[in-house]
Each structure stands twice: as C-alpha cells, then as structure tokens.
C-alpha cells in the first residue's frame, strides 16, 4: 500500500489548479490596490472632519379660527408627549435595558415591545418600529397620563434619554359647534407631502371646511432643531434651533352666539318634529348678512365632533361616522346639501313671470284646486281651492301652486312654438333661476367639493342626459328592478325607466310647472336660497359669500382682508322685489303662510318670510322657510333687511310646521324678543375684533422643556362660554 499511495501525478495536477486560483486572487488584489491608491484619476474626496447635520422638525401650532367677535372657534391645546432617544440609551452601560424596563412598567407595556417601537425601521426590522429619522427622539406616549409625566419629570436621573415634550394640537372650545364650517384636520399623508414639499410627517393639515380652505394661512412655519451627527448617525452636538411660527389667525364672520342659537334651535326642532311623529332626519339653518354677503351662521344636523380627528381618527370612530345609519353627519347640509325648495322658489318664479310680462302686478289670476296640464292633473297643497281670482300678492301669501302652473305651462307652449319655427326657446324661468344662482356653485370660501350648485331642468340638459343614459333606461325598463324589495317602488322605477327610454329627452309643460313651484328636478342648497332672498332685500346683488373675514398675523396685524364679491346683479326691478317682500311680510298675519308661528311675536311687523313644503317621492315633505328682517327702507323706498335666515328640515312636514318655529327661536334671539339679543344691537358685526399678538416662548433645549407654549391658556372644553360682547377681544 505504501508503494502505491495516491495517484500523485493526477492529484498534483489538481493541486496546481488551486495554486493558480490563489495566485490569481493575490495578483488581482495587488493590481486593484495599486490602482486605487496610485493610478485612479478620480479619487474620492475626503469627507473626514465634517460632521453632518440632522434636522428634527418642531411642528408649528396651527393658527386659531375665531368668530366675528374674537371668540375662539378652533384653538390649540398642549399635550405632553414622552420621547425616547435611542442614541442615549445605547450609550448606557446596559444599553438602556434598565430605563426601558422602568418606562415600560409606567406605560403598561413590555420592555421588548418598547424596544421594538424605538428601533428604526429597516428591511430587517419589521413593524412595530420607528419610521422617522434614526436620530430623532421617538414618541412613545402621546397625551401621557399625569402620573407618568410626574414620575418621569421628578426622577429625571433615572430616565436618561427620556424626555417630555409639549406639542400643540387643535382644540374645539365649542365642541361640535360649527363643525361643518370649520372642518376637521388630519395627519399628513404621502399624497400631501408629494403635493407640498414643505410638509412633514409631524404636521397637521386641514382636510375639510375652513381648515382646508385656509390651510396655508393656518399652518404656520415649522421650527427645526438641528443636531450634529457623526458618520454613524449618532447625535454628538446641538446646532441652532429655529422656533416654529404659529399659523395666522383666521377671523370669520361666524357669530358664535348666533351659530349656537341656530344649532340649538335646529336640534330642538328635529326633536320636536320627531315627537310629532315626523321622521325629521336632518336639517340646516343659514344666517346671512344680505348687505355684505357674509355668513353669520351655518348649522347642519346631524353633526360630528371634529375633536375625533385630532391626531388621527380611529377606525371605529370613522366607521361610526360613515355608517349609513348615521345619516352622513360629515355632510354640511347648509352649504353642500341640495334639496327641492318647494314654494320658497316662488321668489324666482314670480320674478321671472313679472319681469317677462307673463303676469302683471295689477292683474288677478285663478287659483283652482287642481289644474290639468299636458294631460296630467296638478293640484294645490291639500287640493285647496280659492274661489275667485287672486293677485300675485295673495298667491304668494297663501302659497297657491295652481296660480303659477298656468303661466309656467303657457311659457312652455310659447317656447315650443318658437322651436317649431326654428327659433331658440327663451326658457325665461330657467334664465331667472340661473340669475339667482341656481345651477352654479356659490363660490363661498370653502373647498369646491363642499358647496352644492343646485339644479333645474331645461330642454338642453334633458336631451343631453337622455342621450347619455338611454341604453340604461331601456335596459332597466326591460328588466324591471328585481333587486328592489318594495313592490310600489319597483313599479314606480320601472314605469319611470319605461318612460325615460322612449321619451326621456322630452321636456314637458308639466316639467316647467313643477319648476315654477320648486319641484321636479329643481334643487338648491339652503345657502343658495339664502343668497337668492338676500338679493331681494339688498337691491338685487348676488353675492359670492364668505365665511372668512380677515387673516391676522402673529403680531396682531391684519394681513389679509377677505371680502365677498358681487357675482352679478339680478335683472329684477327694485319695485318688484319690494312688492314680493311686502306681500310676504309677517305683519299681514294669517294671509302669509309663514307668519303663523310669528303671530304673537313683538317683531312681527319687521320681518317677512316664504314657506316651502317640498314633496320628495318616498319621503315625508321637506319643511322650508326663508325669512328676512328687520326690514327698513332706502330713501328711494326700496326694502332692505339686516339678516336673511333660511331653515330647512327634511321629512318634517309643511314649512309652517317645522321650519317656522325653528326660525322663530332664532329671530327671538337675534332681535331680543326674550331678553337681550344674542348679537349686539341685533346687528352683524361690522368691525374686526382685536386679536392679541401671539406669545412666543423660547425652546428650552434638551431636557424636555416645552418647545412651545400655547398662545393663551385654553380653558377646559366643558366650559365654552360666549357672553355677548360689544367690543373685540381684549
């Protein structure tokens, strides 16, 4: 065996392969080393000696939103946030184990869980982990309980690397008050950051309402805390701090007292109507200053608490808000909802008919219990009939529908005759509706998606819609609606689809008659109706209304004045407006349907109003009332009013039954019928409130000082008192 060991020749050859490999590696390394150190023409630049800076963002408190008298609607509240600096913990002899142990016991979690939360995320570190910069202190408890705050602050030596910071978050001293108008806020998401590079994760942005519309004004400028980092990313020094600048204050024309009164009256009416057996699902109130176009109050029911959204809304809370059973509390019905206006629309109908000489102010016209138009019988409310012919004044006061049907149908046939002659239809009613702002967004200072345009039918849109949807109509007509459980509803929908399939393009005399009394496809938002009635009592001005009034900077200086613009003037004569307004004055007593609730009011002679009772298929009637007052006369004798108040309650019956008493409570407050008026002098505020300059407190560095003090102490949320004030906030 010893004589024949291995096949030495073969094995040696094999070994030389290994030798060659090793030699090749050695030569490669030599070559590369020589190149990198001596030959490389593009040697990298030395960075040694320069530490780099890391920036910790200190979010700016948002600006406040105040009402027309300086009362805070959205303020700021401070919250204690506990942070842990991982750098500091790691530098401890035990790697921070003891600190994490004590802290986790305080916070009711485990050291392992806490350790995970403060570890920066990376491909090998899954959630939970810290998503921010590795050098930024990690918040481990927001809104920390007082016991924890005390434990940490009194035994600071036991908690190295643990700091207490004060952050400011939006607060709502009025609770749900004006929630729809103010809107809610949210944390910054990736889309926001893409759209605006200045945003950081710690910022709060306005999502809806004024918070969204004036977000850039309210947001302020984030501060920064600069830290010096060594190449490993550990903090080795502190750089300069830049204090955050709080956002500017937005002064609104909302009057907190009127707003609250409106909301209370609305909520009470919902309650009262329900007690009378009505569904009263929702409602809205708008109070406008018709002379300036400013919104004094805008209330919607149901409502929500914007506080829920502070710091991110929980899934449960959001699900509750968006649940179908909750009836869409996030919808601002006063401005973004649109409903058939019923007889309140007769302002527009009357204006159109008289202006285009289809009826005259001196003539009288019949008001039968029912009327056949285009083969269909249309009736008055409860088929009430008034024997003799009546004037427009009486027709408005009694709210006779058939009075308006006949001229509307006539107008329709006149237009059809024009079309037969190859001319363009005049569509006066539609023209007038458009002039009163129906069918276009009111351009209020709110996001575009939060203001309803309203609608009405005309020949052109009818045809366009039919062309687009004809196939669907015909398919529905053929198949019926097998998914619809209610047989009456099913039959109605099928009949509608059958008619639409063949004649959906056709604009009929009945459609024009429907529009004349604010039915059919006619819808408006409460705000739009208020704007239309404002035009009546301000000389025909159609406002682009505003909620914002001024932007005041940190020094208390007005940096921007927000003023409503006149969009257009309604082509209706002052004489006609005076006639309509006088016809609907509550001093006429029982001759005016809207006056019923006000017969004993001391201010009865000063205000007027038009009721509306809109029929909605499958629902109870919508109750409307549009009021104005207290009235005065210009030297020319034209009518003027200080307020326009419009109210609407869905499924609550006639205008006089629900909206009437609801608005009466508001008028009582506005005009001081029971005690002093809620609004000084019963007049809208005309001067901006004084806004005190913001107080800025320097950041105490390092050991957990408050980066910011709230601008002024914010009272506990359960005590929001808004005593009537005569002057600005001092």
């Amino acid at each position: 065996m010893a004589s024949r060991p291995l096949r030495a020749d073969v094995s040696a050859r094999r070994l030389s392969i290994v030798v060659a490999l090793v030699a090749a590696m050695v030569i490669t390394l030599f070559g590369r080393l020589y190149y990198v150190q001596l030959l490389d023409p593009h040697k990298p630049v030395q960075t040694a000696g320069s530490l780099h800076d890391g920036t910790i963002v200190v979010p700016a408190p948002r600006g406040e939103i105040v009402d027309a008298r300086g009362n805070v609607l959205v303020g700021n509240t401070s919250q204690q946030v506990l942070t842990v600096s991982r750098d500091v913990l790691q530098a401890l002899p035990d790697g921070g184990t003891a600190v994490l142990g004590k802290l986790s016991a305080l916070l009711g979690t485990t050291p392992a869980q806490l350790s995970k939360e403060i570890t920066p995320c990376s491909p090998k570190v899954p959630a939970p982990c810290w998503t921010g910069e590795p050098y930024t202190p990690v918040p481990v408890a927001t809104n920390a309980p007082i016991s924890v705050v005390l434990a940490v602050s009194e035994h600071r030596e036991q908690f190295p690397g643990v700091e207490l910071h004060t952050v400011t978050l939006p607060s709502y001293p009025g609770g749900t008050m004006a929630a729809h108008v103010l809107g809610y806020t949210g944390s910054v998401n990736a889309t926001d950051e893409k759209a605006n590079k200045a945003l950081t994760d710690s910022d709060t942005v306005g999502r809806t309402g004024l918070e969204a519309q004036y977000d850039s004004v309210l947001r302020g400028i984030d501060g920064t805390q600069v830290v010096q980092l060594n190449p490993q990313g550990s903090v080795v020094g502190q750089g300069d701090d830049v204090l955050p600048v709080q956002g500017d204050t937005l002064v609104t024309s909302i009057d907190a007292n009127v707003q609250r009164l409106a909301e209370q009256s609305l909520a009470q009416q919902i309650h009262d109507s329900r007690a009378k057996g009505m569904k009263a699902t929702s409602g809205a109130v708008v109070v406008l200053d018709p002379q300036t176009g400013r919104v004094i109050a805008a209330a919607s029911y149901p409502t929500y608490d914007p506080q829920l959204f502070v710091g991110g809304i929980s899934n449960t809370a959001y699900a509750a808000l968006t649940d179908p059973g909750a009836n869409d509390p996030l919808l601002s019905r006063a401005i973004a909802g649109q409903y058939a206006p019923g007889s309140t629309f007769k302002l527009i109908t009357s204006s159109s008919l008289v202006t285009h000489h289809e009826i005259s102010l001196t003539g009288t016209y019949p008001c039968p219990g029912s009327l056949s138009i285009d083969g269909r019988v249309k009736t008055n409310f409860d088929s009430e009939s008034f024997g003799s012919a009546m004037s427009l004044r009486q027709a408005l006061g009694y709210s006779c529908d058939t009075f308006f049907y006949a001229p509307a149908a006539r107008e329709y046939y006149t237009d059809q005759a024009k079309i037969a002659l190859g001319k363009k239809a005049s569509e006066y009613l539609q023209q007038t509706a458009a002039a009163f702002g129906v069918g276009r967004a009111p351009q209020i200072d709110l996001p575009a998606g939060e203001q309803a345009s309203g609608s009405f039918a005309d020949r052109e849109t009818r045809m366009a819609r039919w062309t687009a949807n004809r196939a669907q109509y015909c398919a529905d007509a053929k198949h019926g609606f097998p998914d619809e459980p209610n047989s009456a509803q099913r039959a109605y929908l099928t009949a509608l689809a059958t008619e639409n399939c063949t004649d959906g393009w056709r604009y009929r005399a009945g459609d024009n008659a429907d529009m004349a009394i604010g039915q059919g496809e006619t819808t408006v938002s409460p705000l739009q109706l208020a704007l239309a009635y404002s035009a009546m009592v301000n000389g025909g001005k159609m406002w682009e209304p505003t909620l914002g009034w001024a932007v005041v900077d940190g020094a208390g200086k007005v940096v921007r004045s927000i003023n409503p613009k006149v969009h257009s003037t309604v082509p209706v004569s002052p004489k006609l407006f005076d006639y309509i307004a006088d016809s609907l004055s509550f001093k006429l007593g029982w001759q005016v349907s809207g006056a019923f609730a006000y017969l004993n009011s001391p201010y009865r002679n000063e205000i007027g109003g038009k009721t509306g009772t809109a029929e909605v298929f499958g629902h109870q009637d919508t109750s409307w009332l549009a009021t104005w007052g207290p009235v005065s006369r210009t030297p020319q004798g034209d009518i003027r009013a200080r307020f326009v108040v419009v109210g609407m309650v869905e499924q609550a019956g006639t205008g006089a039954r629900a909206a009437g008493p609801m608005l009466k409570r508001i008028w009582d407050g506005l005009l001081g019928a029971k005690g002093s008026p809620v609004i000084a002098g019963s007049r809208p505020a005309t001067t901006l409130p004084q806004i005190a300059p913001q107080v800025r407190v320097a950041t105490t560095n390092g050991s957990g000082g408050a980066p910011l003090a709230p601008r002024e102490p914010v009272g506990p949320p359960e005590a929001p008192t808004y005593p009537p004030r005569t002057g600005g906030r001092r």
């Binding site: 291995l6 094995s11 990198v36 150190q37 030395q46 960075t47 040694a48």
Partner: protein, 394 residues
C-alpha cells in the same frame, strides 16, 4: 511515503499504542506560523488605530480593543499549538466533533439568536463573549470532507479496488455533508460565510480528484442558483447591495454603500506610504463603520498606504504558499485538509480585501487573523494548527 493511518483495519481504535503528544518531532513550519502571527500583530495595531478615538469619545478604554485582540492572539496561538499535535487518528475524531459541534451551534443560533435583537449569526455567552458558529463550521466542514473521502477510498482499497478516484456515491455523500451547513448559513442569512464554505468545499473536491464533470457541474449549479436567487427575488435589493452586512448586530444606519464609499475614501487617500499610524483622518473620525472588523483593511490602506496594503497581501500570499507546499507534501487526508484550509483563508481574504477595494460585494466577513473578533481568530488558529499537524506527519 508514510500513511497517516497507523492501522487501517482499526481506524477508530481508541487505544493508540503511543500517546498522541509523544509522537513526531516538533517540526513547525516557521514561515507559516510567522506569517499568521505577523498578520495577527499587524491586525492588533490596525484594530487599535480604528478604535482608540471612538472608544475614547464613548468614555471607554481606548486600548480596550487592542488588549482583547492581543488576548485573542494568545488564545489562538495556544489553539494552534494544540491542534498541531493532532495525529491522523485524532483528526478523524476531531473532524466529526468539530463538524457536529458547529452544526449544533448553527442550529442554536436560530433558537437563541432570535431573542437577541438583530443578531442572527451570533450566540451571546454572557460577559461580553460572543460566538459565531459559522467560523468553526468552515473548519468542521473541511476536516469532515477530508475524512469522509479518505475513509471511503481506503475502504475500497481494502476490499481490493485500487482506483482511488472518488465515486459518485462518495461525492453525493460529501455533498450532503457540505449542503447542510451551507443551507443553515444561507438561511441565517450569512451569504459571505456561505461563499467561503462553497469555495473551500470546491477546493477540497478538486484536490480529492473528483471527476472534472462534477466540479464543472457544481460550478454551473452554483451560478444557476445565484442567478435564480437574484431574478426570482429570493434576495431583497438590500441583500444584493450588501449581501450579509446585516449579520452584524450593530444597526447599519446608512447602508453598505456608505461603508464602501468611506472605506474607498480612506484607502484612496493613503497613497504610497500612508498618513502614518494614528494619523488617518477617516479612521480617527470614525467615518468607516465596522472598521475594526470588516473594514480593517481600510485602516492599513489609509495609514500605511500602498506599502502597508502590499505587506498584508504578501503575508497572505506567503501563508497560502506554505499551506499549498504542505498540501503537496502531505498524504491523502492531510492534503485535502490543507487545500481546504488554504482555499478558505485565501478566498476569505480575497473577498474581504476585495470588498474594501470595491471589487467584491459587501458581505460581513472578517479579514483572517487581522480583523478584530474572537471566533474567527480561534477558528483560524485551529486551522493553522491543522496545517502544522499535517506538515509534521508529512
């Protein structure tokens, strides 16, 4: 030529006629031991330079790493001397023990390692001692392969077949032996160690005289697996970027690209003679993360320049040359062990220095003998000891 085995018919006899330490003359290959020791001592200086400023800044002993490195060298030298006295019989015992032991260690990593945040390749023994089983696995695999090959060949010879070329069954058996630790290391995932294991195994296979189609086939298989892993998304992007730098417990804040860039800057600015010991700004500023371990070569590059780098590479060349000389002179088992050890150290050094020079991807592999770290130092001390043992029996 003498065979390593005294009595082929009783390969596992536990009653040797002579005590193992009494046999053979104490003939050490001085050049081999000298090269390894020189590398380790250079390493001590480099580790010191890399850590003193940072340690001082952290308030710990600036010489702490130096002292611990020196202690590691002493322990490793003792291990080397001990291992150099192994004879063939003990080697056959030693092989399975190291193999099974480090395999258990690798498995333990999955159990114990999960509780230690971020560390998947390490076992903490307490008192600041950490063990990396994959370092010992390299040794165990090489010896295991050698013993298996030779025992199978010898069994056939005893049965009357005289062709020592490994048969298919031998190769398959060896492949099982190799693939178990290879898979465990890859799952950790420690791709650097996996590459070293693969390369060393390949060296042993070549030296064992395995038919060329096996070697070629395995190479192709390795390439295919690598391509599939990349294309099939088995490796995440960051893994491709920095293979297994994540085997280190310290959080790598700025990523592997940062390490490579900083190491590159350090080496490139060393020039011909370097900035001088303790005068490298990149090193002193702590700009190269993991500089005392994976990027220790960049200290040499910056502070000792081309000259220092050349000396280190040359010492590795000497080491490999002596190792291969021993392999040429050795018997069957010894040759396989020697080739395996040389391939291991050569490839690991190449991979590490290549990574420092931007030639190879970043993997968490220490530079043999030079880098700070007990596990690798001890395993490599044992490896040099085995080479000496083979040398003494040659």
């Amino acid at each position: 030529m003498t065979l390593l085995a005294r009595d082929p018919r009783a390969p596992f006899s536990l009653t040797p006629t002579l005590l193992p330490f009494e046999r053979g003359k104490p003939r050490l290959d001085r050049a081999l031991a000298g090269a390894a020791l020189a590398l380790a001592l250079i390493g001590a200086v480099l580790v010191w330079a890399a850590t003193r400023d940072i340690a001082r800044a952290n308030g710990s002993n600036p010489q702490g790493y130096l002292y611990r490195h020196l202690v590691n060298i002493v322990i490793a030298s003792a291990l080397m001397l001990g291992a150099s006295r192994l004879d063939a019989r003990l080697l056959r015992l030693f092989g399975p023990i190291v193999y099974v032991g480090s395999l258990l260690g690798l498995l333990a990593v999955f159990v114990v390692g999960t509780t230690v945040n971020g560390a998947h390749a390490w076992i903490r023994l307490g008192g600041g001692v950490e063990l990396q089983p994959s370092e010992f696995m390299k040794l165990g695999m090489i010896v295991g392969m050698a013993v298996l090959f030779v025992q199978r060949a010898r069994a056939r010879e005893n049965a009357g077949y005289d062709d020592p070329t490994p048969r298919t069954s031998d190769v398959l058996l060896v492949l099982v032996l190799v693939s178990v630790p290879l898979l465990l290391v890859m799952v950790q995932p420690d791709l650097g160690s996996a590459m070293v294991l693969g390369f060393a195994a390949l060296g042993v296979l070549v030296a064992a005289g395995v038919k060329a189609r096996w070697t070629a086939g395995l190479l192709i298989l390795a390439v295919v697996v690598a391509v599939l892993a990349v294309k099939g998304g088995l490796l995440a992007d960051y893994q491709l970027a920095r293979f297994s730098s994540f085997t280190h417990p310290n959080h790598d804040v700025q990523g592997a690209a940062y390490n490579v860039t900083q190491a590159h800057i350090a080496i490139a600015n060393g020039g011909l003679f370097g900035t001088g010991l303790f005068h490298g700004p990149q090193t002193n500023g702590g700009f190269v993360p993991e500089q005392q371990t994976d990027f220790v070569f960049s200290v040499a590059g910056e502070e000792f320049g081309l000259l220092g780098g050349t000396v280190i590479i040359a010492l590795f060349a000497v080491l490999c040359w002596r190792g291969l000389r021993i392999a040429f002179a050795a018997g069957r088992t010894g040759r396989l062990v020697a080739v395996g050890v040389v391939c291991w150290i050569a490839f690991q050094a190449f991979q590490n220095i290549g990574m420092n020079l931007g030639l190879m991807p970043v993997t968490g592999l220490p530079l043999p003998f030079v880098s700070y770290g007990g596990s690798s130092m001890f395993a490599q001390g044992l490896a040099i000891g085995l080479l000496q043992a083979v040398h003494r029996r040659a």
